[in-house]
Subunit: 328 residues, 3 copies
């Protein structure tokens, strides 16, 4: 196992020797075939939610531990729902109150929980890379799902965006997708750009004020637009990002009202996109800051279906990882 | 849906078009037939608790979300037990730590959870009317149970009192019921008075110091008694209320000892009631303030059976609401 | 019931009239036959954990309440896993936020939960003796498991140590067992000494600085060693104790480094024990304080198997108690 984190040694941190998903750590580096399998498996679970009995026995007898070193009630709840719909035994650990607080190391905590027969860890941690550290350390039969690590990645959020786009637009290779807002600080934007590019989207646009756009977008094949009107013109898909409150009082932006005037999505601006364009948002919404309520609640909004698809994609990721028997 | 909260438009906030219970928001306005159905259904669940297998499959595959915006471990636990005995999937949300704290609106939170396929919300909120707001907003197949909204209502507590009285006294139309204590600040007293009146109790008495009695009792057909001896004389049922600690240091009451001397239920005072009178209390008890331990633990006390019936009545309300298919 | 706590009246606080385990409060006073039954039942559950389906239906339909008046996420989680593997309904009560905080007495809280049809309480409390108080009070069909009461006892931890020793060493009557560290403040050491003595271990050694050794060890048949080298020489089993951080800054010990130099278990010192000696530790580890990482992670360490056996022994205790029908 010790060579696993050495770059260039041919070992993929997320895939097993057969190229199957064993851990989900990031969308970066996932081959198109793996992305496609996740998306199509999620689509099959969307129907499960509408049946009289919503659970499937794919993880029966398996123990899933939600390890949230950082609080996020909503994300934890979605993973708990997904795991229980797969018939897993789910254990929520309030890790901020546990032995970790007594000075035990992260990996000793993981070893102890594995000794309690954990089969899968869903990890959220403020430190970028923490889920990688855990994935390299665990026994070969144990799976790690990244539920958000610092500013680095939040792959299931990116994947649910892909499931949503597939559901409404079918063919990725004909789309124009605009991502609007604070791309610099967004884990979702990063995941989305990687996934959209891998899935063959010909035009991905990053739209926002220069202070909220990271360097290197052009090198990733992304078109940079600092004006919203330009960014969403003729788009098929508009992904609005949440503006963190702390940005609004910082040096990066003058104010929420000012931001809304320039980058807030109103019905008038939405009219510039294609007539059947869909509007997405990862939630929670800042109504009147990045999005007008008439758009958020309007006919083109797919914000609530995204939440539903989020359960399905988490079920898909867990089921696919659990079917990968060992990491080697 | 928008006309639903307009008074006088014929739409009942809790009942569907067939007059069946769809949400439980308050005992106010529930017809006698609905009250009777809840009470008799609860009676049938009391036996479930005594069987080897205590669960029934009435809510199998349904998702119940406990949304406690205000902390109440005991009430939450009783609803969780009830929902699990009905075979529901129960999710407890620590809502004080969730997106609601990030500034998301109450109704956006509800929409998101509904998109996760919630079928029923059990809501506790410090603001009176919050469960009504939610009930008006949710999709027609979703149910809302009020687990306490500010000072307004706590209907399952009132209903368990009715189940208790029915269990021990059978015929409501021959009873004298005394409610003793801080009626002014009690959600339970309000619920009880409505239910007892609807169920045909000929004499309901409100007993307490004038500073803790609300105006308008006489108009509700309630007899006001400021002396305990008068209030409980020949009563069949005595409902003692909990005295909130904050009342005892406020301007409304001189002290706990003084209160106990005047309104505390001792064996001597209890002897003024009928010999087979039952003594009820919603808990938690302030022993030596509103009730003497010899009474609380005595032969006429039904305080612990009330707790057991509380599970049964919550099962009954959930099962009845869940059997109402749509709100329209 | 009132005579139950009177010493000398022949009533055992943990055993029913047939000498069967009804509550688990302490290892003290458990007869060898009861200890042996727990150990052999636990051994049978170790295999359950390795099956495809890890649950057994022994507690199906029974309600287990985790009452943690003192926070311990790890211990609570192990009991929750154990109870769920026995198919019980498990309810975790955040008791620090409950009615107990409104001034309700401990026994009123217990009575209320019993009225909700609790069948078993797993209790952790800062006050020594709290589980005894509860065990004396509950109805005859209810069981109490002590999950740690102040400095007094933590019996399942001691029992899992016995399961571990039985697993690796089989015959207790030929062993030399060294317990090393802060024996004065350790609930585990106390439990272990009682169990080892009862199970016939011929030589039990207590090893540590005089400031951390309690009086009376010799009277219990324990050999006192203030030098680690003497204490672990030719030992079959070495039980390392966790050094609480607060000890290291107190008057009892000069520093963590100093402690490690004298009592830390290094590979060099471990070489003094028998070649097949096993090294145990209750966790969480203070690496570099009481134990060197090369020992903790080495071939003789059974620290992680202890965690696995901890689930099995908690299952065993719950299953055995639940099979004792009444306490009388």
């Amino acid at each position: 196992m010790t060579a696993a984190h050495v770059r260039g040694f041919g070992r993929h941190p997320q895939l097993n020797a057969h190229g199957e998903l064993h851990h989900l750590l990031s969308i970066d580096g996932l081959p198109m075939a793996v992305l496609e399998r996740i998306i199509s498996t999620a689509a099959s679970f969307i129907n499960v939610a509408e049946r009289e009995v919503r659970s499937v026995p794919l993880l029966r007898g398996r123990s899933v531990f939600n390890l949230f070193f950082e609080n996020s009630t909503r994300t934890r709840t979605t993973f708990e729902i997904a795991a229980r719909r797969l018939s897993a035994d789910v254990f929520n650990l309030d890790i901020t109150r546990s032995s970790a607080a007594k000075g035990e190391s992260l990996l000793d905590t993981i070893d102890n929980l594995t000794a309690m027969q954990a089969d899968m860890f869903v990890v959220r941690h403020a430190a970028s890379g923490a889920p990688y550290l855990i994935a390299r350390h665990v026994a070969p039969h144990v799976h790690v799902i990244n539920a958000g690590d610092g500013r680095h990645a939040h792959p299931t959020q990116g994947l649910l965006d892909m499931v949503t786009i597939r559901h409404y637009k079918r063919d990725f290779t004909r789309l124009t997708v605009a991502i609007v807002g604070d791309i610099l600080h967004s884990r979702v934007a990063r995941s989305d750009i990687h996934a959209l590019t891998t899935l063959g989207v010909p035009e991905v646009r990053a739209v926002g004020p220069l202070t909220l756009l990271p360097a290197g977008l052009a090198e990733m094949g992304v078109r940079v637009c600092t004006r919203l009107e330009e960014g969403i013109r003729d788009a098929d898909v508009i992904i609005m990002l949440r503006l963190q409150n702390e940005r609004m009082k910082g040096a990066l932006l003058p104010s929420g009202q000012e931001y809304f005037r320039n980058y807030g999505l109103t019905p008038e601006k939405l009219a510039l996109a294609k007539p059947d364009a869909i509007v997405m948002h990862p939630g929670p919404l800042n109504r009147g800051v990045e999005i007008d309520s008439r758009v958020a609640d309007g006919a083109q909004s797919v914000i609530l279906p995204q939440v539903t698809f989020g359960i399905a994609v988490r079920m898909a990721v867990m089921a696919i990882c659990a079917s990968s028997k060992t990491m080697q």
